[in-house]
């Protein structure tokens, strides 16, 4: 019964123990941290199985009743996101160990566990302020991870990232304050009930709060025009960290899905026009900017970052209609996007590790070691991210296009998706041919040892990449059963009364902000 708390508690304990007791033992850190990640993966699989029945599990911390205490809620969407995170985390961690990234700075494994704790918590919590707290936990761990290993440009990009996210956090607090001032609660189920009961004339403040929340989640999800933190951060972060960050933008997408189906759902008239109206144009611009960025990037790292912006755009296109069919497509695309982005970042790192001073610049350079293997992996990752058959990006895109056919602007949406796919293919093709085929063997004057090719560990890193590729293939092959499962998940999202009755079985107490007392209850 307490299993639901373990994805939060276990990484928290492990992170603390790693800092306190295992500071100087990299091997022990690796063993314990990997064991913890595997254990959490097993737990999340169990939770996925538990949520599969459609039952919503509620865990009341300290056994306080719902609006007063904090609740953890496990429904199908939470369980899906937890499992996805756990799979990603295991791959990223093995890559970090195999490539030696975790030894290039301090506290990689501790920060990694704290970051996972924040992500798992954000997916599980049923309280809006608690969501803020878990956002901060995952952010503060990500600040440390982002500058792991140091370096001048990386730290400067890190400062930019931190400042941008501090502003986002401030905005989140303003949104929460506004919503609390209107409704008198921050428990999401309780919020949903009270928002539905608010009189129509008293809603301007609530609309401000709802719009601010959308802005905050758009910053997290790197939706244009709030994406500026992403390209430099992802391009400069250590590769395993960038791959783990693939789930962080999805935390924003998850929060949009959760809040704008449960609290400000499509049937709530006073806020119905906020998310629905603004998200779709922003998503289209995000997709276009991301894919054009792939074509324009001068470095493979930036290219991968823009590919992940583009995939966020497609994801948001599928979220914006707020219908169960479109949301099911969005969830499929989300799984694909997390795995594909992670694979691309790791493959880019395989290249960068072997090119020495040329780093990941898209220029003519000496052929790298393991050229055939790495170029094949890059090819597969590019196909995935560009949305070409036969991998999951293609199926995801078809599902998204099918889901938006009900929209009035569907020809425009289709046009943007298809044209940007072409741009992405050209961009990936240009970068791939330059880096892998237009190699240059003539010695340069500034190098003494002309026969040198840089060796870097290949065994475990390549295995992890093939693991991600296998997962993508699995998502593709099993797309039939998977979409059926995701349809059930989306249907559950659009039946918020299930969530509300699970969290708060008692009838609502209407809060009167003017007098500070509750009518019909002892609030």
């Amino acid at each position: 019964m307490h299993w639901i708390t373990l994805p939060i508690i276990l990484p928290a304990m492990l992170g603390a123990v790693t800092v306190l007791a295992l500071r100087h033992h990299l091997l022990l850190q690796r063993v314990f941290s990997t064991a913890g990640t595997v254990a959490v993966l097993a737990i999340t699989l169990g939770l996925l199985w538990q949520a599969n029945s459609g039952e919503i599990t509620v865990y009341r911390l300290g056994n306080w009743d719902a609006p007063f205490g904090i609740v953890l809620v496990l429904d199908r969407l939470s369980a899906l996101m937890l499992t996805l995170t756990a799979v990603l985390a295991l791959g990223v961690q093995l890559y970090a160990i195999g490539s030696g990234w975790d030894g290039r700075g301090w506290h990689f494994h501790a920060l990694f566990q704290f970051q996972l704790m924040g992500i798992y918590g954000a997916f599980l919590t049923g309280d809006a302020f608690n969501l803020f707290v878990f956002f901060e936990i995952l952010l503060i761990a990500s600040y440390g991870m982002m500058i792991h290993g140091g370096g001048r440009r990386r730290i400067r990009a890190g400062v930019q990232y931190v400042v941008y996210n501090l502003l986002g956090s401030t905005l989140f607090l303003f949104a929460l304050g506004t919503i609390y001032a209107v409704t008198g609660t921050l428990n999401m189920a309780d919020l949903a009930e009270r928002v539905a009961q608010l009189p129509a004339e008293d809603t301007s403040l609530l609309r401000v709060g709802a719009a601010l929340m959308l802005l905050v989640f758009a910053i997290k999800g790197a939706v244009l025009p709030l994406h500026f933190w992403l390209p430099e951060t992802y391009a400069k972060a250590p590769a395993p960290v960038a791959a783990l960050f693939a789930i962080m933008t999805k935390v924003g997408a998850y929060a949009i899905l959760r809040v704008y189906t449960l609290v400000f759902g499509p049937e709530v008239e006073i806020t119905a026009d906020i998310a629905g109206t603004w998200l779709m144009p922003a998503a289209l611009v995000t997709l276009a900017a991301g894919m054009i960025g792939i074509l324009g990037a001068d470095r493979l790292g930036r290219m991968a970052a823009f590919a992940s912006i583009g995939s966020m755009g497609t994801l948001m296109i599928a979220i914006a209609p707020f219908t169960p069919e479109a949301t099911a497509a969005a969830l499929y695309y989300m799984i694909h996007s997390v795995l594909g982005s992670a694979l691309l970042f790791l493959v880019v790192d395989l290249v960068r590790e072997r090119r020495g001073a040329d780093e990941d610049l898209v220029t003519r350079a000496r052929p790298i070691a393991h050229l055939g293997l790495i170029s094949a992996l890059f090819f597969a990752a590019a196909i995935t991210m560009a949305g070409m058959p036969p991998l999951s990006g293609f199926i995801g895109k078809i599902l998204v296009m099918d889901a938006v056919r009900g929209e009035a602007a569907w020809p425009w949406i289709w046009a943007v998706i298809l044209v940007t796919s072409l741009i992405a293919i050209v961009g990936f093709g240009r970068a791939g041919t330059t880096v892998f085929w237009k190699t240059d063997d003539t010695p340069r004057e500034d190098e003494l040892d002309t026969a040198r090719t840089i060796e870097a560990p290949i065994g475990l890193p390549a295995t992890v990449c093939f693991g991600f590729l296998g997962a993508i293939a699995l998502v593709t092959v099993l797309s039939g059963p998977l979409t059926a499962y995701l349809q059930g998940t989306a249907d559950q999202l659009y039946a918020p009364e299930l969530y509300i009755t699970a969290v708060d079985p008692q009838p609502a107490v209407v809060y009167d902000p003017a007098s500070g007392t509750g009518k019909g209850g002892d609030h």
């Binding site: 500071r23 001048r152 956090s169």
Partner: protein
């Protein structure tokens, strides 16, 4: 009092936003701090302004103030305090390693470090070196001294 609180929140937020737009680390950090002060006062006011009333149950109380915003503000203060400490350390690290306190990134030649003549992987990792020399104060990746190590600076 409503006017006082509202104008204080507004002035703090305006000053904070102005400073954040200065694009140099010191004003930006001060600006972010001012913004977080303004949001703290704002959160405090979100439970309505009540004077001289206890937040917790007591027998002599004639009325109550909302205790929840006070708890929220406390959490927000702790978080913003920690975040400010982190951003100060990172800004120091960025300034000391690049001698430049601009937040925005100028288009440089794009390389993290000058090309190194020798091959990299033979050099001992940070952990091994530190284990030999014993722990030293502040040898943390966020500390400015640990920043320009040749292994990591890529």
């Amino acid at each position: 009092m409503e006017l006082l609180i509202a104008s204080a929140v507004g002035f703090l937020a305006a000053a904070g936003i102005y400073l954040v737009m200065r694009q140099r680390t010191f004003p930006v950090i001060i600006g972010v701090s001012l913004l977080s002060y303004s949001v703290n006062v704002f959160l405090f006011a979100s439970g309505r302004l009540v004077i001289n009333q206890p937040p917790l149950l007591s027998d002599s109380a004639t009325g109550y103030t909302d205790p929840l915003p006070q708890a929220l503000v406390l959490t927000a203060i702790v978080i913003s305090f920690g975040m400010t400490a982190v951003v100060v350390m990172m800004a120091l690290g960025a300034f000391l390693s690049s001698k430049n306190d601009h937040i925005d990134m100028t288009p440089e030649d794009g390389r993290d470090s000058p090309p190194e003549p020798k091959s990299r992987p033979d050099a001992p990792a940070l952990h091994e070196r530190e284990a030999e020399e014993g722990p030293e104060e502040g040898a943390d990746p966020t500390a400015p001294g640990a920043v320009p190590s040749p292994e990591g600076a890529r």
